[in-house]
Amino acid sequence: MTERVDLQEFIGGFVVEAAELVTAANAALLEIEAGHAEGTSRPKAVRDVFRALHTIKGLAGMVGVEAIVDIAHGLETLIRTADRAGGQLSRAAVEVALQGVRAIGERVRAVSEQRTPAAAPPRLLEAIASTDATGDAPAVAPQVSAELDARLSPSERAQLANAVAAGAPAWMLSFAPSESNAARGVTIGSVRSRLATLGEIVKVAPRTVTGPSGAQLGIAFDILVVSSAPRETLADAIAASLESVAPVLAPPPPPVAQAPLPAGPGAEPSTRELAERDDATADVVPIGRAVIRVELSRLDELQEQLSLLTVSRFRLEREIAAMADAGHDVRRLRQVADLQGRQLRDLRRAILRARMVRVAEVLEPLSLLVRSLARSSERAVRLELDARDTELDKAVADRLLPAMVHLVRNAVDHAIEPAAERRARGKPEAGTIRVACTEIAGNQLELVVSDDGRGIDRAAIARRSERTIDHDADLLDVLCGPGFSTRDVATRTSGRGLGMDIVRRIAVSDLGGELRLATTPGAGTSFTMRIPLTISIVEVFAFACGRQAFVVPVSAIEEIFEIADAGITPPSAPGGRSQVSLLERRGRAIPMFSLGRELAIDDGAAARKAMVIRRGGEAVAFSVDRMLGRQEVVVRAIDDPLVQAPGIAGATDLGDGRPTLVLDLGELGLAARERQLP
């Protein structure tokens, strides 16, 4: 098989990329020049110029523009010398490089206008060849441990020294790439570009992660970065825990404004000075550190412990109030309790922050999706992603993405018209799908997926569903019916219906948010989703009691068993609202309350199951009608003060669309015991 490949077909691409590289080289040269004015070197800019010229040279060679190859080659040689010498480029070299880059730019333009570019001017080439690239660059003292320093090029060493001198601390970050990270768009590429916005990346080096036996387990990237961003932000940027962000060296102490107090001869260095000296040496972390990634479940665990702490803090408040009522002086106690309250709030905030991921990264896979859908449906579609700096809880993000995929897929398959149709309607040939995300009041995110396609044909949908559709809200209702499909436009990617039922389930039932629709025939459709920034996911037992379903966190339950299997001593004092039986379990007597009676919803049905909880070392059992199963649910706080009640921890949805109460049996047990037991 022979297929002739003609690289001349890439000449258009060459013009575009070469023009970008010329712009980049100019910008970097101007930055170096600005550095001259300030008396600092810009080693990174020198590297950038070098790479731009190197790439231009390679590309020009491929498409056969020799004039550009000659100029770029000369400049590349000049700048390589400077880079190897530590990234100092002399004023004269910057001057001649700017001339050279301008000459390249002129030739790129000639190519774009299909003119033959002029040959490289010999005088320019001579000038480049005879220029001294480096100024008299002073040697840069190593900033970090010898081991780390050995991995830095002269230019990187100088860059590190400059950045540190500017007052920012240096960090060693350890990013562990993985399939799961890659699946949600967290790759070394995304990490790198994110870190570039937070500081200056000096060096990135790969490392093999080995197990105790020396077996190769995977790889990690060590990233040396100089940044004033908080450690948490840096950890976030590499989707890792704080342990993956290690200080390499502290910034130099700020210059002292006043003359220091004269120290006597032979004065001992102060402890602070000693500490600083130690910082500079002992805190230097070797480049090969262990990587620690934290599973989300561990953060959940942390959050659960926090809620226990919150509960015990409420009890403390109650005790203090009781003491105050009894006439004790509780002022100092209250001060401590208030301080603890603030610390708890900060702790909660810190834990929540650890769970946040950038929306831009969460939605990144949509770009690839649109690209491949557009190809297979032979439509031109452009995706605009605008997530700004929004962040959301990882657990929300994981649930959100499938809904976004459905919306974007529907837009490509059903909304954007084929190019010919768009032309006929006077629209640009390429359709645009825009996904925008903004944070709104009430700790919520608003996500809008809009397209400039054909809009939804209400009349057609009304005919098919045999319903009258007056508003967009009715339309959304019909579209979100299970398995609703517009059949005639069904495609192989979304042939099984639009999946709008799934989108609404995710937005409304799973995440406790809202979904709205606005469509204009011929002009486009937009879906607006409002979802909370965080949710708490809890594994629960669902059970029935008095014709109602309830759930209780699995972690609160010690044991569940058939009441029939246990020996029961009936209530000693019949007739009360909350009667206590004694349950014999492994030689212990456990007080058992009827949950139906505690909640005043008893319908007289015989309770068959007992759930044992442990509260402060004391076991308490509740009898319930029957168990319904075990599942993970999203628990929503009940904000309405009218509904807030002791023993009710929140509300959830078991998938039937009806709110189900999440019970705090510990709280109920405490109340019942206090009432019943002496």
């Binding site: 098989m1 297929e3 691409g13 390679g58 491929m62 590429g189 990135v204 790969p206």
Partner: protein, 125 residues
């Protein structure tokens, strides 16, 4: 279906390499824009051959070769270096680091096609 990874910081260069290799037929191309991305992709997925540029930001081609060769499961992976630095010294350095083949830019489409055919295990076409 063979999987090829084309690594170059220039998108145009990646496209050109893929165009030159299209006559291979049954191959899928994947692309990386830096040495770092290449290392990540190679660590996470299996490829049959890598076409690698030498001069890239952060981690250059030689470092990529050295790192790849230090990985037990990637020791035999064919790596074809494609570089503007066609001098003998570069060639020797790259081959010593563990590259399987070396091609200087500019190259003709047939040249890279021949090189890849030579290096691909149980070559297609």
């Amino acid at each position: 279906m063979k999987r090829l990874l084309v690594v170059d910081d220039s998108k145009l260069m990646r496209d050109m390499v893929a165009a030159c290799l299209r006559p291979l037929g049954a191959v899928t191309f994947e692309f990386a824009g830096s040495g770092l991305e290449a290392i990540e992709r190679l660590a996470l997925a299996g490829f049959d051959l890598v076409v690698l540029d030498l001069n890239m930001p952060d981690v250059g081609g030689v470092e990529v070769i050295e790192f790849v060769r230090s990985q037990d499961r990637l020791r035999a992976l064919p790596i074809l270096i494609v570089t503007t630095r066609g001098d003998d010294e570069s060639r020797a350095r790259v081959l010593q680091a563990g590259a399987s083949g070396f091609l200087a830019k500019p190259f003709a489409p047939a040249q890279i096609l021949d090189e890849v055919r030579r290096l691909l295990p149980s070559s297609v076409t």
